[in-house]
């Protein structure tokens, strides 16, 4: 087999290795993850199907036409997101295991933080996709006027989903080499997510019923934003230590 000679010499090739910005590195990883997920849609389909099943099951547990059920709408919705989202989040780093892809990613000249940010962004997009399909289904099943406060609801959805994503992605990285990964994750992830879930539930319930964001709900918005910022910072700071053995 004819192989063209390797170009140039090692010495004359470069002076300064090219440096990608943090954002470019993250977007490269995120688009890689999205592309390979969209090609098989394994996690996405499973997550969406699971979400539908839980929505259906809730209607047996809580009378779907009753007024009381609508008063816990936010809680129901976020439980669906947390359970269905876990199917996507758990796979985030596990998808790097076949063929030892994780080694190649960690060895590449991108920072662990950028790798984490890229994966979290991809997860955010996938989770948001599942949520945006669930919302109208929920609206139909439980007869709630969820479109009336559309943009505030989207803001809460974004902040809440980022909270779940940061914790889920970080624990996916932590447990990537564990045989019992799937068994460990729910026990670790859900209790830690409680403040984010609680805040998101408190905010979503009035919004989804068409009521505006009142002043007494603002502390919850702050709490949610604080949760996101604190754990994003913590994850970005620690993920390099986690990935380099």
């Amino acid at each position: 087999m004819a192989i063209p000679a390797v170009r140039g010499t090692a010495a004359g090739k470069r002076t300064q290795p090219p440096r990608l910005s943090f954002l470019r590195q993250s977007l490269t990883i995120a688009s890689k993850d999205l592309r390979s997920e969209l090609r098989t849609k394994e996690a996405l389909n499973a997550s969406f199907a699971f979400a539908l099943v839980i929505l259906l099951l809730f209607s047996f547990a809580f009378e779907p036409t009753a007024e009381q059920t609508r008063q816990i709408a936010g809680g129901l919705l976020w439980l669906v997101f947390a359970f269905a989202g876990a199917l996507i989040l758990n796979r985030s780093f596990a998808r790097e295991l076949p063929n030892d892809c994780l080694d190649a990613l960690v060895a590449a000249p991108i920072s662990g933080a950028a790798l984490f940010a890229g994966k979290a962004l991809a997860n955010l997009a996938l989770l948001a996709a599942v949520e945006l399909v669930c919302l109208p289904v929920f609206g139909v099943f439980y007869n709630v006027p969820w479109t009336q406060q559309f943009w505030p609801l989207m803001l809460v959805l974004l902040l809440g989903t980022w909270g779940l994503t940061v914790i889920g992605t970080m624990f996916s990285a932590l447990t990537v080499n564990l045989r019992l990964r799937e068994l460990m994750l729910p026990m670790l992830v859900y209790p830690i997510m409680i403040p984010a879930l609680l805040a998101a539930v408190q905010l979503t319930t009035p919004l989804i019923m068409g009521e505006p964001l009142t002043a007494e709900l603002i502390p919850w918005l702050r709490l949610l934003a604080a949760f996101d910022i604190i754990f994003t910072a913590l994850a970005l700071a620690l993920v390099e230590t986690v990935l380099v053995r």
């Binding site: 932590l174 045989r179 019992l180 460990m184 670790l188 409680i194 709490l223 620690l238």
Partner: protein, 225 residues
């Protein structure tokens, strides 16, 4: 030397506890509103403080491990977390018994008790995770990160649950507002034997961790032969 220190500490703890029990049961009067059952608070509250201190110490040790990579810090973090879980369980159970007598229900979704339950679950997950990792160095690193995440989460959990519960009617704990100084001091007096007991338990667990590390290293030596 270390064993002697442990025995001495355990002995002091036992003496103090006996003296405190005498005062709590025989000298202090019944509380006006609650009657005799209020005495459980002398165990309930110090247990919570001790558990909290254990989790805090575990986080500090975890940070130290990540900085220094010394497995003794990891052993301390694991031991303190286990002891913290034991005191946390004592806090939860005594709180439930008290609630059952005073309010007639086992669980009232009190913010502090509920936060303790959430924290307890997180740290139980931490111990489960430790058990699932074979390589001691990898286990130490991952556990340290989880411990930091857990302790940072504890205040956020507390405030979120507190806000959540203030939207609902709150059960009143002390009808008369201030606690009697003699009773208040007793909380701290009884905290001392709790702390000593906690320290002794952590030391025992750390010895076991060290032995475990030695056994593990010997097994690896044997496999390498």
């Amino acid at each position: 030397m270390r064993t002697k220190l442990m025995i001495a500490m355990a002995g002091i703890a036992a003496l103090l506890l006996a003296r405190n029990l005498y005062v709590i049961l025989l000298e202090l009067p019944d509380e006006a509103a609650q009657g005799a059952i209020y005495r459980i608070i002398f165990f309930h509250v110090p247990a919570a403080w001790t558990a909290f201190l254990c989790f805090f110490a575990a986080m500090i040790a975890s940070i130290l491990y990540l900085v220094k990579k010394d497995l003794r810090h990891d052993a301390f973090a694991a031991s303190a977390t286990e002891v913290g879980l034991a005191f946390g369980a004592a806090n939860l159970i005594s709180g439930m018994i008290w609630a059952r007598i005073i309010w007639g229900i086992w669980w009232t979704w009190d913010p502090r008790l509920t936060s303790m339950l959430v924290g307890w679950l997180i740290y139980a997950g931490y111990l489960m995770l430790r058990r699932a990792i074979e390589d001691p160095t990898e286990r130490a690193k991952i556990a340290a990160v989880v411990s930091i995440f857990a302790f940072v989460d504890v205040p956020i959990i507390f405030f979120s649950i507190k806000w959540w519960r203030t939207q609902h009617p709150q059960p009143v704990v002390w009808a008369g507002g201030q606690m009697d100084p003699a009773m208040y001091n007793m909380l701290f007096m009884n905290w001392i034997p709790f702390l000593l007991l906690g320290a002794v338990l952590v030391m025992i667990r750390m010895n076991q961790e060290r032995a475990q590390r030695e056994i593990d290293a010997m097994r690896r030596y044997a496999h390498a032969m």
